[in-house]
């Protein structure tokens, strides 16, 4: 464990992109946790106050077409969006890592089956399925969104992890571990997986990014959770009420800004991890 922490600390000091990305994401995370505690929840209900008023002293980001204080709405929407992204990312990553490791290591029929499944699912147009499912579900919730999105994004992690496992499988230390009496799952998780941590971290960031993108996309189309406040739904409502035509920039602007910040954070982290992973690849090859 100490090895991991010191490795992480060393890399963060060295890798400025990674540091910037992680710092930004940490900031967003803190705001998402702290935000709802600092605002008045009643201001986020429909009809709480005078609708369509621009930002002023009381309402820092003005109010929306339904009489909600936009700032409060954002404070609640942000953690919800993050929640979907994180849950979806975690589900698809866990499934992906487990399947990828097992497929890459076992070879043979197990590998063929997992590979076929992931390849076939990858060719299915995700958006189409998502729209289909979302529009037919009676009550869409945050958790359900996460599961739907995850079910269509586990394949990439599987392929990535499988490819890396295949290359690590032939390494000398795996043979030595066999000679040392290790085998099967113990071999995979003790010898191979720790060396995949950078890839797993990178895959996680990608999984979260694509999950969020899919979610926001669906929500902007109106297929998201109707009764929960999320960033994507805010954009949907804004567009539904013609905020753009009416020039209510304080309604559709801030959520887009927040989404952009989240993605910049994710992208910087991903790029930083990428350079870390490539450095390791270069060193070990």
């Amino acid at each position: 464990m100490r090895n991991l922490l010191s490795l992480a600390a060393a890399e963060l000091t060295r890798n400025r992109m990674l540091l910037a990305g992680v710092a930004l994401l940490a900031l967003i995370l803190v705001l998402a946790i702290v935000g709802p505690l600092l605002v008045d929840a009643s201001q986020a209900k429909v009809g709480a106050t005078i609708p369509r008023s621009p930002p002023d002293g009381t309402h820092w980001l003005g109010t929306d077409g339904q009489g909600r204080d936009v700032f409060t709405v954002l404070a609640f929407a942000m953690p919800q969006t993050l929640k979907i992204g994180l849950i979806a990312g975690l589900i698809s990553l866990s499934v992906g890592v487990a399947l990828g490791l097992i497929a890459g290591f076992s070879g043979g029929i197990v590998d063929t089956v997992i590979r076929l499944a992931s390849d076939v699912m990858m060719t299915i147009p995700g958006i189409a399925i998502l729209v289909l499912v979302a529009s037919n579900v009676r009550e869409m919730t945050v958790e359900l969104m996460a599961v739907i999105v995850a079910s269509l994004s586990w394949m990439v992690a599987t392929r990535t992890i499988r490819a890396q496992t295949l290359s690590l499988r032939e390494r000398g230390y795996v043979q030595i571990a066999r000679l040392n009496g290790s085998s099967g799952l113990k071999l995979i998780f003790v010898e191979v997986m720790p060396n995949l941590l950078p890839f797993i971290a990178a895959s996680f960031v990608i999984a979260v990014s694509s999950a969020m993108l899919a979610t926001i996309g669906l929500e902007a189309l109106g297929l998201g959770p109707q009764n929960d406040l999320t960033l994507g739904m805010t954009i949907y409502w804004a567009q539904f009420y013609g905020a753009i035509i009416r020039g209510m920039w304080w309604w559709w602007g801030p959520p887009i800004l927040v989404i952009a910040l989240i993605f910049i954070g994710l992208m910087l982290t991903s790029a930083g991890l990428d350079s870390f992973v490539n450095k390791r690849l270069g060193a070990s090859s």
Binding site: Y173, Q175, I176, A177, L179, N180, G181, P194, N195, S284
Partner: protein, 325 residues
């Protein structure tokens, strides 16, 4: 009574391409023995593509024979029960070529030393484990204080290779297979490591199979030398015989290809750029014919003669060594 690891008339053929159209014979009709009551050192000398890597994998049970059997203690290696497997894994150990690749970069070098003690139940406590580890490290000339607790990249290639030998010794094996153990180690440490390996046989009665492309180091350590080319044995015999009185043209060519450390002895670098001649025709299967009491040479099956196996020659060399001692 020491157990025998036997390779019995084994072929290893790799098929690839659609429906296994393309076939590559990695090993043909090989019969050899490792271990037993008279532990010796057998060197397998071959260039790349000769089949020596396949042979190591075969002996370690990582590769199944296409024809023939690999037996340990009379039982087939593939398809042994759990107890047999465990004994096999423990008693047959290996040392590999690349001293860096064999260490998991995520863990300290203690990891590959501790795990087998735990997995095979050799040490009951951490203290006992470390006591054994320290003894093993000292026996290969390493100082435990300078080696334990370090990461692989903090040790030199020679040190790492010796840690790997210590690892093999921890399990108290009967047989050690060494795959090019010194080719990636600096020249200054090569003889140290070879001396350690030689000592394992002489002092601890461990049977060694030493696989290499380097005839000279094979000559320094082995009793029996097996010359492998294209998956078939070209010549096998006592080290003295094979090196100083080679009979097969391939063996002679290998000997000629090694530059002598004396610049005054001619090496005859041929500048015409002619490719080396073919020593085997594709598809030709050869048999070993005994030409001397302690040697056999490959020849075509039709020629007749006293057909023998590597195992027989190994046994003869072993007997001669015993009676000379």
């Amino acid at each position: 009574m020491s157990k025998l690891l036997e390779v019995d008339a084994v072929d290893v053929v790799f098929s690839s391409g659609f429906a296994g159209r393309e076939q590559k014979r990695a090993l043909s009709n090989l019969t050899m023995t490792v271990g037993g009551d008279n532990p010796g050192i057998t060197a397998i000398v071959g260039e790349s593509g000769s089949g020596k890597t396949t042979l190591i994998r075969l002996l370690l049970g990582f590769q199944a024979p296409t024809r023939g059997r690999v037996l340990y203690d009379g039982k087939p290696v593939f398809g042994m029960n759990a107890a047999g497997q465990s004994a096999f894994r423990r008693e047959v150990q290996a040392i590999f070529q690349d001293p860096f690749d064999v260490f998991n970069p995520f863990y300290k070098i203690d990891h590959p030393l501790l795990s087998p003690l735990k997995a095979f139940g050799i040490a009951k406590s951490r203290d006992e484990a470390y006591a054994k580890i320290e003894k093993a490290l000292t026996s290969v000339g390493l100082k435990p204080a300078e080696t334990l607790g370090r990461y692989p990249h903090q040790l030199s290639g020679g040190q790492r290779q010796r840690v790997m030998i210590a690892r093999a010794l921890l399990l108290d094996p009967a047989i050690i297979l060494a795959d090019e153990p010194v080719s990636m180690v600096d020249a200054s440490l090569r003889s140290t490591i070879l001396e350690i390996l030689y000592g394992l046989n002489r002092d601890m009665g461990i049977s060694l199979v030493y696989v290499t492309h380097d005839l000279t180091t094979a000559y320094q350590v082995a009793d029996t030398i097996v010359v492998l080319h294209g998956g078939q044995v070209m010549e096998v015999g006592a080290a003295e015989e094979v090196i100083h009185r080679p009979r097969h043209p391939y063996t002679q060519a290998l000997i000629d290809a090694v530059p002598s450390p004396d610049p005054n002895k001619p090496w005859n670098i041929d500048e015409t750029g002619e490719p080396p001649p073919r020593f085997i025709e594709p598809g030709e299967t050869l048999v070993l014919q005994r030409t001397d009491p302690l040697r056999a040479v490959a020849g075509s099956a039709s020629a007749g003669g006293d057909v023998t196996t590597v195992s027989a020659i190994q046994a003869a060399v072993g007997a001669a060594k015993r009676s000379a001692a």
